[in-house]
Amino acid sequence: MTGQAAAAPIFDTDELVINMGPQHPSTHGVLRVVLRLDGERVVDADVVIGYIHRGIEKLCENRDWTQIILLTDRMDYVAAATNNLGYCETVEKLMEIEVPRRARYIRTILAELQRIASHCLWLGTHAMDIGAMTVFLYAFRERELILDLFEEYCGARLTYNSMRIGGLPLDIPTGWDVKVREFCKVMDEKVPEYEELLTNNRIWLERTRDIGVISAEDAIGLGLCGPPLRGSGVYRDVRKDEPYAAYDELEFDVPLGTRGDTYDRYLIRLEEFRQSIRLIRQALDGLPEGPVMGKVPRLIKPKAGETYHAIESPKGELGYFIVSDGRATNPYRMRVRPPSFCNLQGLRPLVVGHLVADVVALIGTIDIVLGEVDR
């Protein structure tokens, strides 16, 4: 992995150890990277995490099954709806609850809106790290529209608590679907706008092409998931491989990269914007009538057993492993497989041999949220 470490420096001077973070403008939260530099070239990097560890997994052992949904909001706090979705589906799988079709469709719409919102945030911050600050505000402008939609649906703008075990707390408000369609139309125009600013920009190309290349084997070996894995050309998307919610009834493509560099990962996420819009449109077209809540017992108390269920969150494969002892009204043990944490494994091999300026680009390209890494 560290094959690039021997990049020859021009002047032989002392190695400089630089502490990037936990307070640094572009470590996306409280990530700390200890860089050993030769000139500006990274010789070694040590990724230090744990600055916002809140013990969510342990807390879950002392909360009701329903209360845990609130806690999942606070892991990947820029994609709370997908966290809710993953947890609720896992419990439903554990209790073998049938979710009404309408609820599954609305969940899909919410999850895809959330994917667009999360990618907007990623695009904005990633571009900002590389110095294109206008894209940041453009992307946040569109993210704001999604937050408005969520606010109308569930009343919250960041921590939604938008799903329940067995379905949804509420049906969609009247006219909400029209607004979502309008948003899709807006997004159709805005994605080309981002592309115009970045995709063929020479500086952007030079800053991202062949930066942080990772081969398919290495990507699998490091346990990467989501866009970083697909960027290396590995076909893996939980929505296709193990469909959940309504994904088996909807059509969409999984974009794949060829080189596995930062530019490919950028293109993939931009394509995912389009695919998400496509999914939302299909789901709205085929939105069935009916209840949004399945038959759920008053007291949620799964029988003893354990299960693992994964969904494709905006950042990659988000899995929940839950053990129930069948006696208490709370899980015996809960463990989350957070995509950000697994993707962060790839940071060290990615940055070694690159320049300081690339480090921020590479932190951006793997799209981490520290709330999810530390939990």
Binding site: A8, P9, I10, F11, D12, T13, D14
Partner: protein
């Protein structure tokens, strides 16, 4: 009168900064004093009606060479200053003595030659149609001193190649 004021002010500054350059313990401070010294010398050139040289002095010396020094001072991040540890072979006193001798010798020459008529050299015939210090200088450089000028450029080229070869690490 104005020239006298300018000369004495600048002379004091130049000498003071020169002393500061060679006595300051911190290398970075030395470099800074050197820049200021060069700037004062540039102003002295203006007083001497050599505007072009003044500008070149600032551009090449202050803006180029000294930045190079600063660059090296930063790269060569010293853990211990050379002066800090006493060397048995250090001959500072002898050095001071020798410097004093040089000063005395120079002073002797100045005193000896003071008041004597300067050797009359034929003033360069002003070239017709050329006005201003810069143009005259350029004219001289590209006519009478063309070969030295070219040699100087070759010297710079050699120095450039040499510096790159020296500073590069064999890998």
């Amino acid at each position: 009168m104005a020239e006298a004021i300018a000369f004495y002010t600048l002379a004091v500054l130049i000498l003071g900064l020169g002393v500061a350059v060679v006595t300051t313990p911190k290398t970075v401070h030395s470099v800074l004093f050197l820049v200021l010294n060069f700037l004062c010398v540039a102003i002295l050139y203006v007083v001497l009606r050599a505007e072009f040289l003044a500008v070149i002095q600032v551009l090449v010396y202050a803006g180029g060479i000294v930045v190079l020094y600063l660059f090296v001072v930063m790269l060569v991040n010293l853990k211990r200053a050379p002066e800090a540890h006493e060397d048995p072979r250090r001959l500072a006193r002898l050095g001071l003595g020798l410097s004093g001798a040089v000063l005395l010798e120079l002073a002797g020459i100045v005193v000896y030659s003071y008041g004597r008529a300067a050797p009359s050299s034929a003033p360069a015939a002003p070239v017709e149609g050329i006005v201003g210090n810069t143009e005259e200088l350029g004219w001289l450089l590209y006519t009478d001193y063309l070969i030295p000028f070219e040699v100087a450029s070759v010297l710079l080229l050699v120095a450039m190649v040499g510096a790159i070869v020296l500073a590069r690490r064999e890998s």
